[in-house]
Symmetry: C2
Subunit: 112 residues, 2 copies
């Protein structure tokens, strides 16, 4: 019952719009927390918390550098989402194919 944990998988983690923003910022370059705070304009604890979730599901990696923590995107996990969505590629890609399929379905209905 209740919604699944945000840390269950990349899909849940990425459902939160703010976490997508964080990833979009990190897409530009590896970045310490404070850079994200400045760029996003959110309270620092908020940024850290979102980063925590992204980290836990593996969407980002961290490395320490002095007192800073540099976060970077982990492509592998994002590929998971990309690959899943790609499963539906034929539903947006080949418009002609879709029309053809629809026609075939209708023909099948008629011949049932």
């Amino acid at each position: 019952m209740a919604r699944a944990a945000t840390t269950l998988d990349p899909f849940n983690a990425v459902a939160e719009p703010k976490r997508r923003q964080v990833l979009e910022a990190l897409a530009e370059r590896e970045m310490p927390v404070n850079d994200l705070v400045g760029r996003l304009g959110w309270p620092q604890p908020m940024v850290s918390k979102h980063l925590g979730v992204l980290k836990e599901v593996g969407l980002v990696n961290v490395r320490r550098d002095g007192r800073q923590r540099l976060y970077q995107v982990n492509g592998e996990k994002l590929k998971t989402i990309h690959d899943w969505a790609k499963m539906f590629e034929r539903f947006w890609a080949h418009q002609l194919l879709r029309i053809k399929e629809q026609a075939e379905r209708k023909h099948k209905e008629r011949t049932n």
Copy 2:
């Protein structure tokens, strides 16, 4: 506060694993509710509720056929997710490029 509505956008709707399963089943072919019930083995109200969310965010379309309701995948909305994830393509695609970028970053650090 609290998590965003599941009907806020495709990302939230797709966060729920069961809803992804529904979409995967519909990827095979347009289908009435009862076929999904049989295939997924869930209570019918559960299937209808998940379909309701998917419908509200536009991930599926419905058309009536007698007393049945035929659900089908709406590719456009799934493309949204695919396109977003694609933004991070370079983080998994060109391994060599990533190594090169990392090297450049390190060089920059040394020269700072």
